[in-house]
Symmetry: C2
Subunit: 132 residues, 2 copies
């Protein structure tokens, strides 16, 4: 309650390394919506975030693609976009209940990956070595 001008509780800053670049979706065999939708949901699970806040952990995604992803998610009712008429401009993205309902699924996918993804990658590597 120190520097929260509009009364909204700000969640802790996002870790810029919260996504392993070695596991982009090439290895992760799951996708929710577009390529970055799942990661955006993860970024928003603790509260509303601004555009540039989302870009910190998602620095691999260009503003164009992030903006496309966000507009698609807004269209699908997964998040809401709130623009404050301030200066500098401020825009906040917040998960809707529908968007939150995907969190358990993302958890399940993450759990699967932790336990089984090494097996999948090992099978892939083995296959490449026996038939190069």
């Amino acid at each position: 309650m120190t520097d929260s001008p509009s009364g909204t509780r700000r969640p802790a800053p996002l870790d810029p390394d919260m996504f392993d670049p070695l596991c982009p979706s090439s290895a992760m065999p799951f996708r929710v919506g577009d390529k970055w939708t799942g990661m955006v949901i993860r970024c928003l699970e603790d509260g509303p975030r601004r555009f540039t806040e989302l870009r910190a952990p998602l620095r691999a995604v260009t503003p164009k693609v992030l903006s496309e992803t966000l507009r698609a998610m807004e269209r699908d009712g997964l998040l809401t976009r709130t623009s404050y008429d301030e200066n500098p401009p401020r825009v906040e993205y917040t998960l809707t209940p529908l968007g939150r309902s995907l969190l358990p699924l993302l958890d399940a996918a993450r759990t699967w990956s932790r336990t089984h993804l090494p097996l999948l990658l090992a099978a892939r590597t083995a296959h490449e070595q026996e038939a190069p």
Copy 2:
């Protein structure tokens, strides 16, 4: 135990309409691996299937794409391909334990879709109508 020449228990025939063409993956916001991987896993969950057996419910997918999907899944250790030296040729695809481990996730995705997909589609439609 009537017409099972090689002793393998054959599961019931697949329903050619087991996949709703109105819900291809355009609406289903989940993907496991490639576009058809999830459906192949569903087709194989009751036991091994032959190539043409898989084509019955997946008649939208051409043999080329199905064969590509199957080879990718074999490479990733999700299924095994067994070729019998008979005539006419016979090839069977069977889920591995790793492939089976994805079934709970597919169940979870299906459950989500049943309860929440209408909301998502309604939001999409509403958005299209207010901003055409």
